[in-house]
Symmetry: C2
Subunit: 788 residues, 2 copies
Amino acid sequence: MPGPAVLPPAAPRRRLRWSLLLAWAMSGLAAAASPAGERAYASVDPFIGTGGEGHTFPGAVVPFGMIQLSPDTQIKPRKEAYGWAAGYRYDDTSIVGFSHTHFSGTGHSDLGDVLLMPIAGQVRLERGDDGKPGSGYRSRFRHDDEIAQPGYYAVTLDDYGVRAELTASARVGVHRYRFPKGKPAHVLIDLRTSMYDYPGKVLWSRLRLRPDGTVTGFRETRGWAPGRQLYFAMRFSRNVSGHQFHDTEQDVIYKGFPPPAEKAPQLRAQIEGRQLVGAFDFAEAEGAQLVVKVAISPVSEDNAIANLDAEVPGWDFDGVRAQARESWSQALSAIDVDAPEAQRKSFYTALYHTLMGPSLFMDSDGRYRGPDNAVHEAKGFRYHSTFSLWDTYRALHPLLTLVQPEQRNSDFVNSLLASRRHSPYGVLPVWSFHGQETWCMIGYHSVPVIADAYLKGIRGFDADEALDAMVASASYGPYDGIAQYMELGYVPIDEEGEAASKTLEYAFDDWTIARMAQAMGRKDVAARFEKRAGNWKHAFDPSTGFMRARKRDGAFREPFDPTASGYGTDYTEGNAWQYSWYVPQDVAGLARAHGGEDKLIAKLDQVFDAKVDPKIFEHMEDITGLIGWYAHGNEPSHHVAYLYAYAGQPWRTQARLGGIMSSQYAPRPDGLSGNDDLGQMSAWYVFTALGFYPVAPGSNQYVIGRPFLPRAALNLPNGKRFTVIAEGLDDAHLYIGRASLNGQPLQRAYLTHEEILAGGELRFVMQAQPDKTWATDPKQRPYSMSSP
Amino acid sequence: MPGPAVLPPAAPRRRLRWSLLLAWAMSGLAAAASPAGERAYASVDPFIGTGGEGHTFPGAVVPFGMIQLSPDTQIKPRKEAYGWAAGYRYDDTSIVGFSHTHFSGTGHSDLGDVLLMPIAGQVRLERGDDGKPGSGYRSRFRHDDEIAQPGYYAVTLDDYGVRAELTASARVGVHRYRFPKGKPAHVLIDLRTSMYDYPGKVLWSRLRLRPDGTVTGFRETRGWAPGRQLYFAMRFSRNVSGHQFHDTEQDVIYKGFPPPAEKAPQLRAQIEGRQLVGAFDFAEAEGAQLVVKVAISPVSEDNAIANLDAEVPGWDFDGVRAQARESWSQALSAIDVDAPEAQRKSFYTALYHTLMGPSLFMDSDGRYRGPDNAVHEAKGFRYHSTFSLWDTYRALHPLLTLVQPEQRNSDFVNSLLASRRHSPYGVLPVWSFHGQETWCMIGYHSVPVIADAYLKGIRGFDADEALDAMVASASYGPYDGIAQYMELGYVPIDEEGEAASKTLEYAFDDWTIARMAQAMGRKDVAARFEKRAGNWKHAFDPSTGFMRARKRDGAFREPFDPTASGYGTDYTEGNAWQYSWYVPQDVAGLARAHGGEDKLIAKLDQVFDAKVDPKIFEHMEDITGLIGWYAHGNEPSHHVAYLYAYAGQPWRTQARLGGIMSSQYAPRPDGLSGNDDLGQMSAWYVFTALGFYPVAPGSNQYVIGRPFLPRAALNLPNGKRFTVIAEGLDDAHLYIGRASLNGQPLQRAYLTHEEILAGGELRFVMQAQPDKTWATDPKQRPYSMSSP
C-alpha cells in the first residue's frame, strides 16, 4: 500500500469561538446569491422523487435545516408505510396536514412531527380517509394549485378554500394561511400522527397554551429510534380566540385537569397523554391571513421558544422565504451547469437533494440530545444528525467535501465523534437520526466518512480522537459479528446473518482506517487494518466467482443460490450477483481473484445483461431500478459500472453509465428509480453527470466515467474553480475520445482530489464510437491497494 | 374581624446565597445531637403504621429526604393497591425488593421507583407470588431479623441467606448486602414495578451500564402524576463481573441493539423500553459484602451522578447511617418529652412521621422539575414537593412552624410559589408530588399554608407574589366550581360534585387570604375575601342542622341522607355528620346558626355517641377510625373534638380527646387508625399530646385540649424553650383543674403562637373530675371571625 496523499488543510485555521461560528452560519443567509445561483434555484423541482419509490418530500427546508416542513398525504400504518416514508406521494389526492420533520428518501421511516392543518368551518378530530372527502379533517388538493420550490411550498386545500404556504429557516417552520370569508378559522394540531404509524408509537406527549398565546409541547415516540423526544413552540400572528385540547385515548386512568376533561376541552391550558389533538380558533377578520411559526428543539419547550425568537422574531413570511431562497441559491451555486433545461432540472434537483442531510440537530444555544438521550452542548461545532451512513459514505459525503465549506464537513466529523462520546457502546454512529442510534443496516461507515474527510485535508476536529473512535468502532466485538471477524478474518454465517456483505464492507472500512492511520504516522494501526482490508478474500469463492459466506469451520454455506436475497441469505439487501463486486479498495485484487481483468469484465457483463424477472425481488422493498442484476435503486450496485474502468475498458463504463442515467433518472415526480437515501442516489447522479465518481472514498481519487453535461464548473470551497467541458457531446457522441487536464493530455481514467481542488479545466472531446485505447494503460489504473 | 397579630420575623435575615444555603443544609448533619435527641431517636418505631391502614413504610429516610428507601412486600395491581400504598405491609411474609421512593401514609399511591433485590444463586426475572416461595425473585423474611430505625433498615432475606441493610442521605440510598458463601452473588434491578401498578403505567425507561461500572437510567410513568420522569445513578463497591439487561415486553418493534437482544442480554450496555429488568453479577469474595449506592434526580442521569458524588462519595455505609441518625436525633430533639416509654414511642414515632414531607425534590445543583414537566433552577431556596395539602394544611404545616427552622418553612412557601409560576393554570399546588400536579382532593389549601406561615412571621419569600398567587388560585374559575362559587357564594351541586365540602373549605381558605391581606395592608383583598369567608352560611341548612349542597336555583338538593358518603354525594370522603362542623374560622357563627352553643354541643354529642354500623363506609377506603360518626382516620373530623372548647365546655373536649387518643393510636404496627397522610394523623397526635391544636391555621391560635404527657418542652427554632407540664397527670386525673402560663393563671382555652414563641412554661394541674368553670368565660373563647 503506497502512502496516501494527504492534503493540507484548505486554509489556516484557528479554534472557532461559538459566537464566530454563529456569525458565520448566519452570513450565508445574508450573502447575495449569484445570478447563476438564482438560475440553479429556478431549475430545482422538489417534486422529483415524490412519485415512485423516491421517497422525497416537496416541502420547505433550508440547506441542512433541522426543520423539514412538508405536506403529508397519508399517514400509513406500519405494514403499508414503505411508500409513504416521506409522508407525501404525488399520486394522492388529499392532504392530511403539514408536519415539521421528514426524511428525504428513506426506506424505513419515522418523523412527521407536529402536524398542523388549517380548517375553515367545522373542526373534525380524525384524519379521515383519502378518497372519502369529508370523512375527516383532511382536504383534497390539486397539483394545478401546488407550488414547490426550495424552501417554499404552496397548495390550496380545496375542501376548506384555504390557501396554505410554507417556508422555513433552520429551526423554524413558517406557515401562512389565507382563510375564506364567512367561515370560522381554525388551526388543528395533531400529535398522534407519525410516519410509520403503529399503535403505541407515541409514548407520551404534551400540549400547552401559555398565557401569552404561545403553544408549546413535546412528544416522545418509540419508532425507528427508541424514546425520541421532540419539543416544539408555536406562535400565531393573530390572537387565539378559543381552543380545545383532547386526549382521544380511551380507558385512561388519571386523565388530568379539569375532570371530566372530555366535557371541557376548552378549559385545559395543558394536556398530557398519548393521543393528543387540539384546535385553535381565530376570529374572522377582513382579508383574514394567519402566519403560524413553529420551532422545534431536541432539548426543551423553553429551547424551542428560544429557537423561535432567535430565527424568526417577526411575522415576515416573505422575508423568511426570501432568506431560504438566498441560502439555497448560494448552496446550489457550488456547481454551474450549462445544459438543456430538462437536464439542469435533473441536475439541480439532484444537487438540492444532496444538501439536506445530515441535518442540523442543535438548538440556538448549542444544546442537543445525543444517543444516550441526554442533553449535551456542542462547543466549537454544529451538531448534525440523520446519518444514513450505509448509503451516504459512498458518494454523498465525498460530494459534500467538494460543494460545501470545510466547516460543514468538519461539523459532520465532530458530530460523529460527539455521538461516539455519548454512545453507551463507545462506537461511532451506524444509522442515526435526531441524535438517536437505530443500528440500521450494516458496517461501521462513519469510518470512511471521517477518513475521506481527513485524507482530503479537512480539519477542525481531533484527529487522534477520530482515529481512536474508528478503531474502537471496528473492534467492538458484540456488534454484528465483529468479534468473529477479528478472530477468523470473516463473519461466519452460522453465527451472524448477512455475513458475506458484512465481511466485504468491514474490509473496505478497515482499509480507510489504514489509510488515515498511515497519514497520521500511526504505523501500528495502519499495519493492522491494512491486513484486515484484505479480508474480502475470505468471502471470495473461486469455484463460483461469487462472494459468499463461510461458516465458522471455514466451509462456504450450502446450498448456494446466487439469486437469493433478503433475510436469511448471505447478503444485505442484495444477492450474490449484486454484492460480489464490493472490493472498492482493491479492484485489481478482485480481478486477479477472478483470473484476470477479462474474466472480471465478463462477469460484470453478466450482471448487466442478465434477463431477470423483477418478481424475484418482490419481497425486497429496496432492490429496485434493475438492469439485469444491477439494481441502481440500491447502494450495493452504485460503484459497479465504474469497475470496467479499473479493468482497462473505460468505454464499457461509459456505455453502462449512459444506460443507467437514461433509465434510472428523469425530471418528473417518479423520476428516481429507488429511495433517494438522504441524497446518495442524487449524489451518484451529480458525480456521474460531472463525469467522475468516488468509487473508493479514502483514496482521494475519482474514477472517470464520462461527462453528461456540455459544461459544468465546480466553485470549490477554497475559492477555486474546476471546470469540466464535454466538447461535441450530443446524443450521437457519447464516448470519450480525448481528455485533457489544464491543457495536458489525460490518459488515465481517474482524477485526484488535489487536481480538482487546484482548480482548472478538465476537457473531454466526445465521439460517436468507443475509444478503446484511451485510459487503458495498465500502469495508469485507478488506485487498488494490491497494485504496485 | 380584628386585625391579626402578625409576628415579626424570628431573626434579621438577608438574602441567602446558594453556597450559604448549602452550607446551612449540611450543618445539620454535622451538628452533634443532644442526649435527649439520641433518646428520642431510640424511641421511634418506624413499624408503627405499617399494619392496618396507616400506609407508612419502615425503610430508610432522612428528615424531608428525597430518597425513601424501603422494602416492598407486594406490588399490587390497581384494584388491590390501596393496602400496599407504601409498598410494605407488616403482615406479609416475603419481600420483593427495596425501592427508593415511597409516600408515607397516602390513600392513593404511586412511586416505588428503582427496585433492587440482592440475589444469591439463580436469577429469576419475575417477582413471583407472596406465599409461593421460589416462584420468583422475592424472598421470605421474618420480623425477628428485622430492624427499623430512623434512617436505617435491616432484614435477612431467608431464601437467599442475604443480610440486607439500608440507609440514606437526602438524595442517595445506600444498601449493604452480605452474601452467603458458595453461591453466585447478583443484584437485580426491576424498572417495571410500581406502587398502584397497572399495564401501561411505565411509559418509557432506560438502563445503562457505563464503562466505569456506574449504572444509570430513568423511567417515566403515567401514574397518579402524568408523565413523571425520574432518573437514577447507581454504583457498586465491587466490580461488576457480568450483567444482563432484558426487555420483557412482547411484540416490540425495533427492540434495539444487539439484535436479537433476547439472545444476548449480557451484551447490552444500554436498553430502552417499557418493561426492563436487569441483573449484575459479582464474583465471589471472602466475606463478600457489597455496598450499593443509588442516587435519584428529577433532571437527568448526569445530575443523578452528581447527586451521588456530592452526598456519598465513598463506601462508608456506617458513616452514612451515623449521619442519618444524627440528623434524625437533631430533628427529633425539637421536643423533649418525659413520659413512659410506650408513650414516648407513640409520640416520637408520630414526630418522626411529621418530618418526612413535603420532601426535598431538587438536585445538588439546585435544579428540579416543575408541574410543567420542565427543568428549573431554585435560587435561594430548596425546592420541596409532595404536598398532600388537603391533609397537611390542618396540623402538619402548623406543627412544622414550631419544630423546624424558619428556612424549612419558607422553603415550603417558595416551593409552592415556584410551582405556581410554572403552572399552566397559574395556580398554587393542589396535591403535588415529584413536582407534578395530581389535582387530588379539593380546595386551594396551599393558601392556608402560606397565610399561616406569613402570619406567624415566617419570611424569606415575596409576600406580594404570595398574596397574588393565593388570590389567583382562589379565583381560577374552571377549577372545581370556583367560577360558580364566585358567582353564587356557593358551589352548586347540579354543576359540580361534592359541592358542600367545596363551599366550606373554600370559605375557610378565603378567610386565611383575608387575614394575610389585612396584615399586609391590602384592604381591598381583605374585604373581598372576608366576605367570601362567610360563604359557609350558604351551605348551612337550619331545618336539618347540617351543611348541605344547594343547586343553582338556591334550593338544597333532595333527597337528603345525612349518612350518605362518597361519589355523587354532597361531600368529599365524608357525610353530613362528618362535614357539618367545618367552619374553623367562625365556630361562634356556626353555634349561632345552630341556635346557640348548647345546640351545637348537643349535635356534636350526637356525632360521637351515635351507634354506627361501620359497614356503611365499606365503599369508602379512607373513612376509618370511627367513634360514632366521628372518623379519626380521615381529616374532616380532625378538629371536631376541639369545638366543645369554643362552645364553652372545654372539659368535653378533654373527655373526647382521651377517647380518641386511646382508641386511635397505639405503639404497634397497626397502631394508626387511618392513613397517616404524609404526617397529618401524626401531627394531630403530637399537638394533642402536647395539649393544644391549631384548629384554624391562620388564626395564630392553638386551642387547648388537655395534656397527655407529664412534661414536654418545645425547643423552638428561635432558640427559646416552651415547656408544658401536667401536674398530677395519671389515669385517674385526666381533666384540667388549673392552668398557668409563666406563673400567671390561664383562664382561656387557647394559646397564641406569640406566647409559645416567647418561650416559658405552661403548667396544668390535672384532676379527676371535669372542672366546669375553667376557660368558660364567653369573652375568652378561641378566635371566631364573627365574634366581637
